[in-house]
């Protein structure tokens, strides 16, 4: 896994199995489409735990291609990825999409936190280490 640089934050991301949407693991063990809701790893040890989770079978049951990325807190306190690739992955193509685009009516709105599936118990529940 990528070396953890002190001062940065790490999150676990994947694509939702069913829809392909970009999702992040939250503190509650659910998956959210909102980066700001992601569970943050701020130390080497926490980062290593997230890295290990990427290969976990329960993660794979609900998502595809899980991996960790490094993020930072921007000026307005919001999280943003360090790499352009991840920025694009989250925000959608930077280029203007053809005329008729946007989400289909049936799609959930991105601002809703979609609990795609409960993965693990919330942290601080007597079990800081996520046992799966």
């Amino acid at each position: 896994m990528a070396k953890f640089r002190p001062g940065t934050l790490r999150v676990l991301t994947a694509n939702d199995l069913l829809t392909g949407d970009v999702v992040f693991l939250t503190d509650q063990g659910t998956w959210s489409r909102i980066l700001d809701e992601a569970r943050l790893a701020g130390t080497q040890e926490e980062a290593a735990k997230l890295d290990a989770l990427a290969a976990n079978a329960q993660v794979e049951a609900l998502t595809v291609a899980a991996y960790t990325i490094d993020v930072e807190r921007g000026a307005e306190g919001r999280l943003r990825p360090l790499r352009t690739r991840e920025l694009i992955r989250i925000s959608g193509p930077l280029t203007r999409l053809p005329l008729k685009t946007g989400r289909r009516k049936s799609d959930p709105e991105p601002e809703h936190t979609a609990a795609i599936g409960v993965l693990m118990p919330p942290r601080g529940n007597g079990d800081d280490h996520v046992s799966l």
Partner: protein
């Protein structure tokens, strides 16, 4: 056009049913992603940055109005209302959901379409000259050959797990519009001294990390021996291809490392061992396929259409479009119409569902319901009467499809790049948009003349940058995108791999760098000399000077 027989229909329907069951098993947890991934890839379903991507096969780029309408319907019902034509003459949907893909495949099967052979280490969807059957100076229509290869290669058990993917392109014309020199196998239909029709077989071309121009492995292959000979090549490749190293696994590396002579000897020996009569296509089957591509019943028309000549003279925009977007047809009174999918400032190859419907309608009205997708990410209507050109153009104007830039500086090939592609190291689309905006002026474009700019967002070279007159390759250095420029590439019968000019440019600088290259050409060209001719005469020096000398 080819129409499915009961076998084609059956295997496509069965395949769709199998995939439905595989998706269900993945969702239930019976299949892991590792187990499922090769299955979804064999059905054209990739995972990209934001979502899944479904690549739909358009065999040799030919499709009907009915099929195009179905693509529009799928774009609307299951995706976000648009699709993307690729350099493999296919169409990609950028946002399908896994749960919908079995339904999409069923819908495709209804119109004799599928997503087989658009991924994986198999013989991929065969490509061909987009002017097939209507080009002047064509020995024979390449589509029956491409269709025969499609049928032979589909689910061929011996060639389903090749060392790497395998791409075949076919042309029947002297002007190579199918880039046969940079395919694993390029087939050129030729006539020998005795007047017999057969193939010149080009082997080991390719782009990507290690680009090569293909070399002639067989100067003349009798038509009837096509399948046995290709089978011999495939068997030698399957045996010796470098499975140990993904980056060395394409046949171009085998040709390079083994040497053409030795490899040719091995292929010929394998060919001699083959039971040629048993492998060769049945003559009745070949005739059955050829019948689907028989010329339509053309009307007898004068070469010039008076009404169109008058309309052109009275309408500057129509005249400009006719100058760049029409090509000579083999039948008097008809034109081949190129429809540019490269609006200035737009995304190369992207079409909305409304435009797909307009294309389908216009093809139905004016081109016997047939369309072609080109490897240059444009669309061709192959059978348009010159008398109908003005009306067709009006229809294209209405659909936002009348961009008059075919072959010019703004007719840029660009892969999806980092705006979509999980493998990308940089974005391609915004670079194409900036360059096309810079050179938007139609008079300037015409002054510059024929010029191929091709952009890839990573070394995989889906945007064919190696064979662009000006090639642009997007890379990443310390988290920043930068762009390497190559000059002198050529995808035609005079194929060449472009040479790297020197250090790369940032995203902000790259359009300006292209401008400096073009300015240098404009200042130094001889009268009537195209960009590529000028480059060949002068070499890279003046262009490098313009790019790197302190100003």
């Amino acid at each position: 056009m080819y129409r499915y027989d009961q076998f084609d229909q059956k295997i496509v329907a069965e395949r769709s049913g199998q995939f439905r069951a595989q998706v269900a098993r993945r969702l239930s947890g019976a299949l892991t992603e590792d187990e499922f991934k090769p299955l979804r890839l064999m059905n054209g379903l990739y995972l990209q940055l934001h979502a899944y991507m479904l690549r739909v096969a358009i065999p040799y780029g030919t499709l009907s109005s009915r099929q195009m309408r179905k693509l529009a319907h799928i774009a609307d019902k299951y995706d976000r209302g648009f699709g993307h034509f690729t350099t493999r003459q296919n169409l990609q949907f950028n946002w399908p959901k896994l749960k919908d893909v079995p339904d999409i495949l069923d819908e495709l099967a209804e119109v004799e379409m599928h997503a087989i052979q658009t991924s994986g280490n198999c013989i991929r969807n065969v490509t061909a000259d987009h002017y097939a059957g209507v080009a002047t100076a064509e020995i024979e229509d390449p589509r029956p050959t491409a269709e025969l290869l499609r049928q032979w290669s589909t689910f061929h058990p011996e060639f389903t797990y090749l060392p790497r993917k395998f791409k075949i392109a076919v042309t029947g014309a002297d002007d190579d519009r199918a880039a046969i020199m940079v395919h694993d196998i390029g087939l050129k239909i030729i006539r020998n001294d005795r007047g017999e029709v057969g193939y010149r077989v080009i082997l080991g071309g390719g782009l990507g990390r290690t680009p090569f121009v293909g070399r002639i492995v067989r100067d003349f292959l009798p038509k009837a021996e096509l399948l046995p000979y290709i089978e011999a090549i495939m068997r030698v490749y399957n045996t010796h291809g470098r499975r140990d190293n993904k980056y060395k696994a394409r046949i171009k590396i085998l040709v390079h490392e083994t040497g053409l002579e030795d490899l040719r000897a091995e292929i010929e020996a394998e060919f001699a061992r083959n039971d040629i009569a048993a492998i060769a296509a049945d003559a009745d089957e070949v005739a059955r396929i050829e019948a689907y591509f028989a010329a339509p019943s053309y009307e007898t028309l004068p070469q010039l259409s008076k009404s169109f000549e008058i309309a052109k003279a009275n309408n500057e925009a129509l005249g400009r479009w006719a100058e760049t977007n029409l090509a000579d047809h083999k039948i008097p009174g008809y034109s081949i119409v190129n429809i540019s999918i490269k609006p200035v400032g737009g995304v190369p190859g992207d079409v909305t569902s409304a435009q797909m419907i307009a294309l389908a309608d216009l093809a139905e009205r004016y081109s016997l319901s047939e369309l072609r997708i080109t490897h240059r990410q444009n669309v061709v209507l192959p059978y348009v009467r010159k008398n109908d050109l003005e009306a067709l153009w009006q229809g294209l104007v209405g659909a936002g499809l009348a961009t008059d830039n075919i072959g010019l500086v703004t007719d840029i090939i660009a892969c999806p790049g980092m705006d979509y592609c999980a493998l990308a190291t940089a974005r391609s689309i915004p670079v194409a948009q900036k360059i096309s905006t810079t050179f938007a002026d139609p008079a300037l474009q015409r002054d510059i003349g024929p010029l191929d700019i091709k952009i890839s967002g990573c070394i995989n070279a889906c945007g064919h940058h190696h064979v662009g007159h000006i090639g642009i390759l997007g890379l990443e250095k310390r988290g920043e995108e930068y762009y390497q420029i190559t000059l002198g590439g050529d995808a035609t019968e005079t194929a060449a791999i472009g040479e790297i000019t020197g250090p790369g440019f940032s995203e902000d600088e790259v359009a300006d760098a292209v401008s400096r290259i073009i300015d240098t050409y404009l200042e130094t060209r001889n009268s009537g000399e195209s960009f590529i001719e000028a480059y060949r005469r002068m070499g890279p020096s003046p262009f490098k000077e313009a790019l790197y000398a302190p100003h």
